[in-house]
Symmetry: C2
Subunit: 377 residues, 2 copies
C-alpha cells in the first residue's frame, strides 16, 4: 500500500464524485436518457470553451482531435503556418506533413513562446496560408502563448487559427470566440478532471467553410459525421459512455465553481509553485510561465533521479523534461483537482528528495514560500 499523490500535467487526479460515476451501471447510448446527458455535456462544454459553436466529443486521445483539425480543413499541397514552442507544437508539423500539407514554421525554440509578429510576417510573406496552428499552454516546457494577440492577427486574413488547448483548458484562461479562435481541440484528462479517452473539437463558421473544400480522406475523424449525429444528441460511433457520464459530473463541478474562479485558482497555485521553486534556488524555466504547470531547471547530475525518487519513495508523481530537456527540468502540475494542500505535499517531499540527493537546501523553505504566496494571493 502506497498512497499516491498525482501532480503530473495529465492525467491529473479525478475527484471521487466524478470517478464514481464511471463505475455506475452502463447506459445504452441510443436512449433518451443518454441523449439528455449528451446534450447537457455539449452545452456545458460550450461554456468551458467560451464559444457559441458546437463542441463535438469523440473516443480518442487528444491527438485524435488534433488530426481532425488537420484532415477536415485542408487538402494535400495546402500551405499552413505552424507556430509551436515545444513537443506538442511539433506534433502539428508531424500531422500536417503526414497529409502532404506544406508547413511554414513560425515556431520558437523550446522554452520560449511564439512571437505573434513572426506569425504576422509569415502570413504576409505567404498569402495562400490556409491555417495557423499553435498551442495554448505547451506542457512540455510550461509556457503559455498569447492566443488573443495571435487571434487578432489571423482574423484579419483568410487563414483560420487552430489552437491546441489539450493541456490548459479549464485551467489557463481561454476564450474561443472573443479571442477569434477558429478551431479548438482539447482532451479530457487535464483541467476537465477526467480519465483520458475523450477528445473534443469545435469549429467556427470560418473553419466550417474550409471543410467544404478539404480533400484529405477521413472516415473515423470525419467531422461532418459528428455534426450530423450531434443534431440528435448522438455520436456517429459508439461513444465512451462511462467517460461521458463522468464528464457531466466534472462539468457540473466546474460550472458550480465558475470558469473565472477556476482560472484564478490556477493562477494562485502557479504563483505559489513559482515561489516554491525559487525558494529552493531552482531557476524557473520558460519565457512566459503558464498557470497549469510550473517548470524549473534542476542540476543535471541529479535531474534524472528527482522524479523517480519522489515517486518511489513518497508516492508523489511529478513530470520531468521531454526530449532534449530530459533530466534538465522538473514540472509540477497545478490544475483541475490539484489543490493548495497537494502543492505543499509536493514541495515538502521535493525538499526531502533534494536533501537525499545531496543538494544543499534549507528544509521547509519552499513550503514556506508557497504558503506565503497562497496566503497573500
Amino acid at each position: 500500500m502506497k498512497k499516491q499523490y498525482l501532480l503530473t500535467p495529465g492525467p491529473t487526479p479525478i475527484p471521487p464524485e466524478v470517478a464514481l460515476k464511471e463505475a455506475l451501471p452502463i447506459l445504452h447510448h441510443r436512449t433518451n436518457e443518454f441523449a439528455a446527458i449528451y446534450k447537457d455535456v455539449a452545452e456545458s462544454l460550450k461554456y468551458v470553451f467560451q464559444t457559441k459553436n458546437e463542441v463535438f466529443l469523440l473516443a480518442g486521445s487528444g491527438t485524435g482531435a488534433m488530426e481532425m483539425a488537420v484532415t477536415n480543413i485542408l487538402s494535400p499541397g495546402d500551405e499552413v503556418i505552424v507556430a509551436g514552442c515545444g513537443n506538442f507544437g511539433d506534433r502539428w508539423i508531424k500531422i500536417a506533413e503526414t497529409y502532404g500539407v506544406k508547413v511554414i514554421s513560425a515556431s520558437a525554440p523550446w522554452g520560449n513562446v511564439v512571437k505573434p509578429a513572426e506569425i504576422e510576417k509569415a502570413l504576409k510573406a505567404n498569402p495562400n496560408i490556409k491555417a495557423v496552428y499553435t498551442t495554448s499552454t505547451e506542457t512540455s516546457t510550461g509556457v503559455v502563448n498569447d492566443i488573443k494577440a495571435i487571434g487578432e492577427i489571423v482574423a484579419k486574413t483568410n487563414a483560420v487559427l487552430v489552437v491546441d488547448t489539450i493541456s490548459g483548458l479549464a485551467g489557463q484562461e481561454f476564450k474561443m470566440d472573443e479571442w477569434k479562435v477558429d478551431v479548438t481541440v482539447s482532451g479530457s484528462q487535464k483541467g476537465l478532471m477526467l480519465a483520458p479517452g475523450l477528445a473534443f473539437i469545435s469549429l467556427s463558421e470560418k473553419a466550417w467553410k474550409l471543410t467544404e473544400t478539404s480533400k484529405i480522406p477521413k472516415f473515423y475523424f470525419d467531422i461532418k459525421k459528428y455534426k450530423k449525429s450531434y443534431a440528435t444528441n448522438e455520436t456517429p460511433f459508439t461513444p465512451p459512455v462511462t467517460l461521458i457520464v463522468a464528464l457531466q459530473e466534472s462539468l457540473r463541478l466546474i460550472k458550480e465553481r465558475g470558469i473565472e474562479n477556476v482560472w484564478n485558482d490556477c493562477k494562485l497555485l502557479a504563483k505559489a509553485a513559482r515561489a516554491g521553486m525559487q525558494a529552493l534556488g531552482l531557476e524557473l524555466f520558460g519565457e512566459v510561465p503558464c498557470e497549469v504547470v510550473t517548470s524549473a531547471k534542476v542540476p543535471e547530475e541529479i535531474g534524472g533521479k528527482i522524479v523517480k525518487t519522489l515517486r518511489e519513495k513518497y508516492g508523489v508523481s511529478i513530470a520531468g523534461g521531454q526530449a532534449d530537456l530530459k533530466g534538465k527540468i522538473i514540472r509540477f502540475a497545478h490544475m483541475g483537482y490539484i489543490g493548495k494542500a497537494d502543492l505543499l505535499v509536493g514541495f515538502a517531499c521535493l525538499e526531502m528528495v533534494l536533501v537525499e540527493l545531496g543538494m544543499k537546501i534549507e528544509k521547509g523553505k519552499a513550503v514556506a514560500a508557497a504558503e506565503e504566496a497562497l496566503l497573500n494571493g
Copy 2:
C-alpha cells in the same frame, strides 16, 4: 428510480468488480506500475484473440480499429474483396472507398451469411486482391460467418484476411491463428464486459508485410507507432488509463472462467433465446444464428413499440432492427456479463409487453421454453 436490465449487443453490462476499477484513483501512464498492467493486459488479449501475435490497444471506438485495418495495409487503387452481410459488413466498404480502394463485393443480403465459395470465386477472378474484409458475428442481423472456412480459402492466396470481431470476441468461438486470420479488430464493450472507448487490433506476419508498402497516409492510426511503443509497454498517445485498468480485471475474469467455457456458456444462452422466441411464435431471423445475439421477426404493426415499451415500462433494454430492418426484428444479446437469469427476465417482460401490445401469446411459455433449454443444455 428504475432498475435497468441491459440485454443490448453493446454496450453490454459491466461486472461490478470491473466497473469499480474504473473508479480507482488514476495512475500515470508513464510509470512501471502502469507498464506492468499494460503488459499483463496485452498478454491476456493474445489468449482471448487466440493468437501469438501482438494485440495493440488504442483509444477509440471499434470503427477506429477497422479504419486502421484499411489504412495500414493498403494503398489507393488497391483492390480488395468485402464479404459482408449487414450494417457492419457495409462499413468495410465505406471505409475502403473513402481511401480510394477498389471494392469487389462478395457480400450476402442482410440476414444471410457470407458464402466462402463466393469469396473463392472472386479471388480467382481478381488475382490482384490485396485483402478480404469480413465480419465474424454481424450484430445488425444476428448471424455468424464461417471464418474458419474463409481462412482456408484466403490463406492459399497472396491476400490477407481481415475480420471484424467487435461484437463477438469473447462470446462466439474465434481462433485467430488456427483459422488463419491475418488482421483481427475488436472493441471493449461486448464480450470483454467493459465500457466502450478501447479498440484492439492484431496483425499476422503476412499482414505486417503489407504495412511496408501501404501508401495511405495516417498519423493517429499508424500501427507502426503502436508497435514501437508496445516494445516498452506503452502506447504512442495518452491511453484511456481507467478503461485499461478495468480491462485487466475483466480479462482476469475471462481467464479464470476459461475462453472455451465463455464460448459454451454463450452457446447455451443462444439455444435458450432461440427456444424462447420460437415459443412466442416469433420466427428466428438470420440464416446461421450467432451465439452472442438472437434476432427474431416481429409483427410490423407493433415492431417499433416493443423495444420502447420494454425499456420505458420495465427498464429492459433490447435492440430493434437497423436500416431496412427497423421495426421488423428484435435482438436479444447474451454474452459477457449477461447471465441465465437476465435472459429469463428479458423473456418474462417481453411476454408482458406483447400481451399489452395486443399479441395473442400464452404467458409464461417463452420463459418455460428458455428454462427447458437451460436445464437440458
